[in-house]
């Protein structure tokens, strides 16, 4: 028991050190105010783009809607759902893809990946520690987006419809899948060389398109729709819309009950957790075999 507690305490200490180091790496180039501007600029701008698009449609003269559209003037509640999902997508951009960028930067830019491997902290704990900082940054980004929406853009929901318990479960599951897939992507980045840059950027953009963050997945082509249904984030965003904004996505998702949405979120999260655990260590072994840990190919 003492050994277990000691091991746990040691792991936490290492994770805390890695988190502190992560903060130093990510934030030591600017003062906190400037850093906050840089951190918030992209997500807030995306939120403003969405609001401007919605504003343009509301003010548009009546015209023939596009195929698959829900008719002129979609209900505000539908847009609120998209906006909320877009705010939470900060976790995918910052944590999931950010862990891959950590590997890329450590190896290609700073050339310190081999020292991380050689240190007593170890790569896995180091990544876990770095993810803590990224979670914190994503949380700030998400809250800022929701607050700007609420107070400046009028993107509001009725608190009476918030289902706190399912919402909490959904948030925990969503964050867990973000972390697990982040490890998988970090592992893949270990094997890839400079192509990691493309894969990571692609993952950022593809997740925005595939998970139906800002539109119903019904609008995706048929085979792609099945890919979307296989991703935990599609279910996560649907759960957030239902349990926080009080309004699910129209179309295909309406065929699922709240319990089914939570069930599928759980199933996909566990599946990807198992895949990520196996995949990370498999990629790690492959990277060692290929000699990729100290192979710089970009800078």
């Amino acid at each position: 028991m003492a050994v277990t507690l000691g091991t746990l305490r040691g792991s936490l200490a290492r994770a805390r050190t890695a988190a502190w180091l992560g903060w130093q790496v990510e934030g030591n180039w600017a003062d906190p105010v400037l850093f906050a501007i840089y951190v918030l600029a992209r997500p807030l701008a995306t939120a403003l783009i969405l609001a401007a698009m919605y504003g343009a449609v509301r003010g548009a003269p009546a015209g023939a809607p596009a195929a698959g559209g829900s008719g002129s003037g979609a209900p505000a509640a539908v847009f609120v759902g998209f906006y909320v999902a877009n705010a939470f997508h900060a976790y995918v951009n910052t944590v999931l893809v950010g862990l891959g960028w950590t590997v890329f930067e450590e190896r290609e830019e700073y050339e310190t990946l081999k020292y991380v491997y050689a240190s007593p902290v170890g790569m896995f704990t180091y990544l876990a520690g770095r993810s803590l900082v990224k979670f914190a940054l994503a949380t700030i980004s998400m809250l800022a987006t929701l607050l700007v929406g609420w107070f400046l853009l009028g993107v509001r929901w009725d608190w009476a419809y918030v289902q706190w318990l399912p919402l909490t479960v959904a948030i925990v599951a969503g964050l867990a899948s973000t972390l697990f897939l982040g490890f998988l992507l970090a592992g893949w980045s270990l094997v890839l060389t400079r192509a990691a840059m493309v894969v990571l950027e692609g993952a950022t953009l593809a997740s925005y398109l595939l998970c139906g963050v800002i539109f119903p997945i019904d609008l995706l082509p048929f085979p792609v729709r099945w890919v979307a249904l296989g991703l935990p984030f599609t279910w996560w965003y649907e759960a957030l819309r239902r349990f926080l904004a009080g309004h699910g996505t129209p179309g295909l998702m309406q065929g699922f009950t709240d319990a089914q949405v939570l069930l599928w979120l759980g199933v996909t999260t566990v599946s990807f957790a198992l895949l990520a655990r196996w995949g990370y260590f498999a990629f790690d072994r492959e990277a060692r075999r290929l000699g990729r840990l100290d192979q710089t190919t970009l800078f």
Binding site: W29, A30, L50, A52, G63, A66, S70, E109
Partner: protein, 280 residues
Amino acid sequence: MQPAIARRPRHTGARLFVQATLARTYVRIVGSLREPTWMLSDAIFPNLGMCAFVLLYRALGAPRAYEALAVIGGVLTTYWINVVWGMGAQLYWEKQQGQLQLYFAAPCSRLAILSGMALGGLAATMLRSLVGVAIGLWVFHIQVAPFSPWVLAGVFALTMVALYALGMTLASLFLLYGREAWHTANAMQEPVYFLSGLYFPIRTLGAVGSVAAGVLPLTLGTDALRQVLLGPTAQGLLPLGQEAIALAGFGALFLWLAGRAMAYLEALSKREGRLTQRWQ
């Protein structure tokens, strides 16, 4: 007695400028074709965001003309990304690779090198932006109004000159900075997309849109190209002629500014010892 190696004529002035420009153009084009993954990312990725925004318009039941607005904006993001990362941040990459000093040891003008980067980047990006055009036409079936190809070519050329001249100015600024360059380039994506109204009519922004048009050539270029391709449904900010004149002014201003900024910041970087400093 003949020397073993014939002495080559030394080129100076305009001829050296043109040769250096062409040499850098060649390197940029060949370099962009040598890495297949980068070709893929440059051609596909900017369009993924555009697809998401077009689908949002469909979900909101917007008129079809809005999808065309978003597609034109999406195609122009390809150029903006090239301007920011391929022009603005290029000298930062060179610094990280440890070869920036070679640029400054070369006997040619720095502006010739920047011009070559711009020409090469533009040529490579034009090919890749065709993917966005293809997606717009064949996947989303956007419709354009009848237009004059000459007017389109003229407005496009003015927009590109203004954009890449801005890129040359940014390259000078980024010369001085280290990691700030990376973060600045990141911060110049979505915020600029918003201020340029790439995915919605710029008129939606009201006064903010007018101010943006006075500062960012991308705003005016996007609006002008939409007016050419979509006619009245583009909901243009200013008459097309005025926007063309403003774009020409932007081009001249940024070209002049690039020369001044390069000379000043090169001297400052040397004085502060930051020209060859990596990982700062």
